[in-house]
């Protein structure tokens, strides 16, 4: 029973990470109709930045805040400089540019900080945080930080004029212009926010998966699965999808462990997590593309 709870808690923590990355993906998708394939590598690069800041003597949370701000600027710059001119380019061109960004971020991280796996500190005190036997200090911290960030974003979008303008720009850019909203800047801000949220996810997960340039690959795949499960056009759905997928992932691994213990037969375990994510992705895309909470996009004739 204790192990089940631990797996569940682990699933929650993982789910929090997936929720963040999935949210970043959905924010960009909703405003630009594009899937940011480079989201994982951008988050990883941000995490390295925070590592670098800490190795220069900054405390964890100071580095955290600074990195989030730097990532925000990075996102805005990428949108304005690289993506804006390609506004009307064919879809394949834009996908290629995303892959290009992916390659650049991944290899530059390796170039600046080497491919050696690094440890990443956890800011959550081991002693009195967490609930013994159920959820560890870092995992609890991850869930809390994620909930705080998501809460802030919710308040921003729901109750501030800028958030409202961004929602309007994403929903109907033409009409948003007709009420005076500078839609192009809204897109850039959306990218900035997505980059920031990705950075949060990266910094939170680095302690669990260790810091190395390829750390976000699997997580990105899971974030795709989460966004699809939740409905790729629905930010709240993406968050829900993240938690659902995180818990599901761990429950499947747990079930596999139990079966192996009971029967000695290994069917599925931690080594198959990416395959499970792939199956989720293919399944949702072919059977229910709108996910749980999204809307189906009709093909335009």
């Amino acid at each position: 029973m204790e192990q089940l709870l631990q797996q569940f808690a682990s699933g929650l923590a993982n789910g929090a990470i997936y929720a963040c990355v999935a949210l970043a993906l959905v924010m960009i998708y909703v405003s630009t109709d594009h899937i940011n394939f480079a989201q994982g590598e951008m988050a990883m690069f941000s995490t390295y930045i925070s590592w670098q800041l800490m190795s220069w003597g900054m405390s964890f949370w100071v580095a955290f805040i600074l990195t989030v701000m730097i990532s925000f600027a990075m996102g805005v710059l990428i949108e304005r400089l690289i993506l804006r001119p390609l506004h009307n380019a064919p879809v394949l061109s834009i996908i290629v540019v995303f892959i290009g960004l992916l390659a650049i971020f991944n290899s530059m991280a390796g170039a600046f900080w080497s491919y050696l796996i690094k440890e990443f500190p956890s800011p959550f005190p081991k002693s009195d945080f967490g609930i013994a036997g159920v959820i560890g200090p870092h995992q609890l911290g991850v869930v809390l930080v994620t909930l705080i960030v998501l809460g802030l974003l919710f308040v921003f979008f729901r109750y501030t004029p800028l958030g409202l303008a961004m929602r309007a720009a994403a929903q109907n850019p033409q009409m948003a212009r007709l009420v005076g909203v500078r839609v192009d800047w809204m897109l850039a801000l959306g990218w900035g926010l997505a980059a920031s949220v990705g950075a949060v996810a990266g910094i939170m997960v680095a302690h669990i998966v260790y810091l190395e340039p390829n750390m976000m690959g699997g997580i990105l795949l899971y974030a795709f699965a989460s966004a699809l499960v939740g409905g790729i056009s629905n930010p709240a759905g993406a968050v829900a999808g993240g938690f659902i997928v995180g818990i599901l992932e761990n429950m499947v691994a747990y079930a596999g462990n139990q079966i192996e213990k009971a029967t000695g037969v290994y069917i599925i375990g931690n080594g198959e997590k990416l395959t499970v994510a792939l199956i989720i992705v293919i399944f949702v895309l072919t059977v229910k593309p709108a996910g749980l909470f999204g809307r189906v996009v009709v093909k335009r004739v």
Binding site: L164, A168, Q171, M175, A176, R177, L178, V179, G180, V181
Partner: protein, 237 residues
Amino acid sequence: MAALLEVSGLKAFYGQTQSLYDVGFEIPTGGITTLLGANGAGKTTTLRAICNMVRTDGTIRFDGKNIRGMATEEIVRQRIAHVPEGRGTFTTLTVDENLRIAAYTRKDKQAVKDELERVFVYFPRLKERIQQQAGTLSGGEQQMLAIARALMLKPRLMLLDEPSFGLAPLIVLEIFRILRRINEEEKVSILLVEQNAALALDLATHAYVLETGKVVMSGPSDVVKNDENVRKSYLGY
């Protein structure tokens, strides 16, 4: 009295296809002008051209300032409000949010609040439905919301594209009455594009008739109303 909006030699293009060939007209300050014409004559395109939503050539001056080629949102910030075909309400946002978004560009919070109250005086129905999602409103209510939203921009000029489209006659009359009030009380000049020529000519002080991208007739609405060609083509008698 100098014209609020002066358009001359206006050409417009959808991609490679030319839609307007040589459109010219003037909107006097404080008046209601209507643009008539059959489907495809270029009425909607003209309104879009004013807001730079299509590629244009020619001259467009607003209050003496050249606005052709300015970004759409900057033109809007000159206080030109465009109520497009199909209303253009943000369907997933509430009535309240739809109105607030129009006040986004305005700094004076108190003035915005007063504005909101004034808008509800014109459109009491909207006040009742303030937290309702715009997409669930009826056609007439959405049209009212679109006009109310335009008012929130505190415009000097309001462009309306077929406000009567798809609405029941009684609602249309109500809306047109409100438009007249807005023109008189808020001092908003109006450029009205309408298929319903009779209603439009009743409301407007001046009229222009468009045919295949060119202005073929213009004048005070009484004169245009009684023109034989106009009567046959657009008024049905």
